[in-house]
Subunit: 208 residues, 2 copies
DNA sequence: CTTTGCATTAACAAAATTGTTAGACATAAT
DNA sequence: ATTATGTCTAACAATTTTGTTAATGCAAAG
């Protein structure tokens, strides 16, 4: 019977594997290390998942689903006015990355080393993203024609938002030591960083 | 004697190792694969560099030096007016990343898996960066006091610039398939992306 | 032409990592 | 009580990857 207080060995292994793969990547991860972190013998790991590869697939599947799911929320509520919608999208995206700080590097490294696996995720996102881009671009073009905002390519805007929201987390260990007191209070920093990213994008769009 | 047309085995190995390590990371790299890419037996690799670790050190050293050297150029010419200086710094940084597109991911992964090695690079950059930040901040504060530009924390600006310039290259395989025609002509895309990044930062600083 | 020293290879050895198996053990069904 | 089933372990096996060595070649110095 499923007990919430006593996770099964299988769940323990999955949790340990997730952390190991996300921090060290496929090549850096060790099945023995995963097993011992999960508190089981490494034969156990092979018993449940047969191979390292299959265990990895489980993690990749789940993480790709997480990303895919997040993309749907990030695009913002179409009923909001465009400025509000973009602002809300940025904040949702930022919060998602903040809660999954290891994910971007993992996904990127994974896609680079095994591009074929990305096709599944890409296919799932492709038409959705294209549609949202198109509707956002139409709305932007309309507002721009009225002189209310700058005319801008939504794809460029998208790249900018992704860059601003993601890079801090990916490069955290690189920049943190260079930042002095700025990043010592993590909560404080993240909140002002989020506001900054919104500000940057709003200013980019606002008519001058 | 050193011949420019016939690189030595040692140089061949170093070149192959650089590519292997930059694309696959330390864990993913194989000494046999490096050797065969260099067209030598793998015993040869061990003859010249003894261990994978030592070969890797050579590459890391060189790449960290490259980054360190780049940082000095990126901070811009102090004799220029602040706007020009920042614009020029952004462009220099962008061009550097464009010419070393594999470097950011390598450096980040390397720092995450072996933070102790970063201390050498960090120490070299620390005081320089702090000084440049301070002089830039002073200049910004002066201009802001005159109402010419927005008051802004240079460190925040620095993170924004790094993010915008770097993320595209790090996440290239992730975003490229989502971008339709935008990125098909790479040269064209990079040039407009560079201009966009400058535009974004300038708008962030300009007084509204 | 012989010695010296570095470059090179092939074959081998060691280590690390992944994967398997036979059997033990518990638990629940028959 | 016996059987069946899934869980688990310890020991072992296979594979992959790294590292070594002894022997060979080769070119320059003496």
């Amino acid at each position: 019977m499923e007990n919430k207080e006593q996770p099964s060995k299988e769940q323990l292994i999955l949790a340990a594997a997730e952390y190991e793969f996300l921090t060290k990547g496929y090549d850096g991860a060790r099945t023995t290390s995963i097993a011992s972190a999960a508190g089981v013998t490494h034969a156990m790991l092979h018993y449940y998942f047969r191979t390292k590869e299959q265990l990895f697939e489980r993690i990749v599947d789940e993480k790709f689903r997480t990303v895919s799911h997040a993309m749907f929320n990030i695009m913002g509520d179409p009923s909001l006015p465009i400025m509000e919608r973009i602002k809300c999208g940025i904040e949702t995206h930022f919060d998602f990355i903040a809660q999954n700080p290891l994910l971007p590097r993992f996904v990127i490294n994974e896609i680079i080393t095994r591009p074929e696996r990305y096709e599944v995720l890409h296919k799932r996102l492709e038409s959705f993203v294209k549609n949202v881009f198109k509707s956002l671009q139409d709305e932007i073009d309309q507002e721009a024609a009225l002189g209310k905002i700058e005319k801008i390519d939504i794809k460029m805007l998208f790249i900018s938002i992704m860059s601003l929201n993601t890079f801090t987390f990916v490069a955290y260990p690189f920049i943190e030591p260079l930042m002095g007191e700025l990043m010592v209070d993590r909560e404080q920093f993240l909140s002002s960083r989020k506001a900054e990213n919104v500000e940057i994008i709003i200013r980019r769009i606002k008519k001058q």
